[in-house]
């Protein structure tokens, strides 16, 4: 057993465990027909936490061993340029409505999240963590880190926002009487990033396309708005 004990702190061991657990979570998620509450990350995260606790290694060890996965987020975010470029014609035709809706939505997301947490007495590092909560997870983690917040907590809040948004969007937009699939999709993408886009694609192709556009554009808009606040402050 001692001969194998050292394996518990290797990259190989934790990558094998993480990928296997995630593959299992993904299979369950598929079985649930991609219900937002059965998102593979939501299933895999608690399972991995239990395994890490049982193994006795620290989170720092686990995080170091699996850092190659997080490293891939960088090129993946750059790759979002491809779907944006594919929709440049659409962006040009609807430039003004998209710009106004994006600006309103992005500002609402930042100000309402930070404002409510501030009313509850949240300290500055938590306000910095929740500010980018509407962006896609890798961007939110990076923005939170740069603002002096907590990247892991930012990831958890973004996932929470995604689950809520994906579950409530359809009844909420029906109650509002918004029937235009472009407006519905875009709103869900701006507020609930990848979860919203995945849900929107289940409703209609148009809603899905506008949701992924909303997600990608809001990553840029949130970064720029936070930058503007930082310059003004």
């Amino acid at each position: 057993m001692n001969a194998l004990g050292g394996l518990l702190s290797t990259q190989l061991f934790w990558l094998a465990v993480t990928l296997t657990v995630f593959a299992g979570a993904d299979a369950l998620s598929l079985r649930s027909r991609r219900h937002p509450l059965c998102h593979p990350v939501l299933l895999a995260t608690p399972a991995l936490i239990v395994l890490i606790r049982l193994s006795g290694v620290t989170y720092a060890t686990y995080s170091g061993a699996t850092s190659v996965l997080g490293f891939l987020l960088g090129p993946a975010v750059v790759g979002l340029a491809v779907p944006i470029h594919a929709r440049l014609g659409l962006i040009r035709r609807l430039a003004l409505p998209l710009f106004l809706a994006l600006l309103a939505g992005s500002l609402t997301a930042i100000v309402s999240a930070v404002g409510i947490l501030w009313l509850f007495g949240g300290p500055p590092d938590l306000l910095a963590t929740i500010a980018p909560r509407a962006t896609t997870t890798p961007v939110a983690m990076e923005l939170a880190r740069q603002l002096g917040g907590r990247p892991s907590l930012a990831a958890a809040l973004v996932l929470g926002a995604g689950v809520i948004g994906a579950m409530v969007a359809t009844p909420l937009l029906n109650a509002l009487g918004v029937r235009d699939m472009r407006a519905r999709g875009f709103a869900v993408g701006v507020s609930a990033h990848g979860f919203g886009a995945a849900r929107a694609f289940q409703v209609s192709e148009t809603a899905g396309a506008f949701a992924s556009l909303g997600m990608a554009l809001n990553a840029v808009a949130t970064a720029l708005i936070i930058l503007l606040f930082a310059v003004l402050a």
Binding site: V41, L73, G79, A104, A183, I226
Partner: protein, 119 residues
């Protein structure tokens, strides 16, 4: 294929360099993404490989942030103290953002793009 992967890394590197040179709190990856959009719009070329590499990466985003999500195991103290506040702020902000974005988009489409067919 390697060329497309190299292209993503080069744009990420350029974004990271600009991020460091400017000191701006915009992630290098976001700057790299904007630079790549500009590049794709201004330089013609075959995009099939870049499309397949980037769509593979975006399709597997979820597994890439699992290690970060697991970091929540270190945040027990924050949840004990601010759990309710975090849940309320996230929930209200998510719903309010959907409502505001959808209503502004509907109004702006009717006002500025009435000739575009609604879908």
């Amino acid at each position: 294929m390697v060329g497309a992967i190299a292209q993503l890394f080069v744009f990420l590197l350029a974004g990271e360099a600009l991020h460091r040179l400017s000191g701006l709190p915009v992630p290098g990856a976001v700057i790299g993404m904007v630079l790549l959009v500009i590049w794709l719009a201004s330089v013609r070329g075959d995009r099939a490989r870049l499309e397949s590499v980037s769509s593979w990466l975006t399709a597997h985003l979820s597994v890439m942030f699992v290690p970060a999500a697991v970091g929540i195991m270190e945040e027990g103290g924050v949840f004990a103290r601010f759990g309710t506040a975090l849940v309320v702020a996230t929930t209200v902000s998510t719903l309010l953002t959907i409502v505001v974005t959808a209503l502004v988009m509907r109004w702006a489409l009717a006002r500025f793009a009435p000739t575009e067919a609604a879908e």
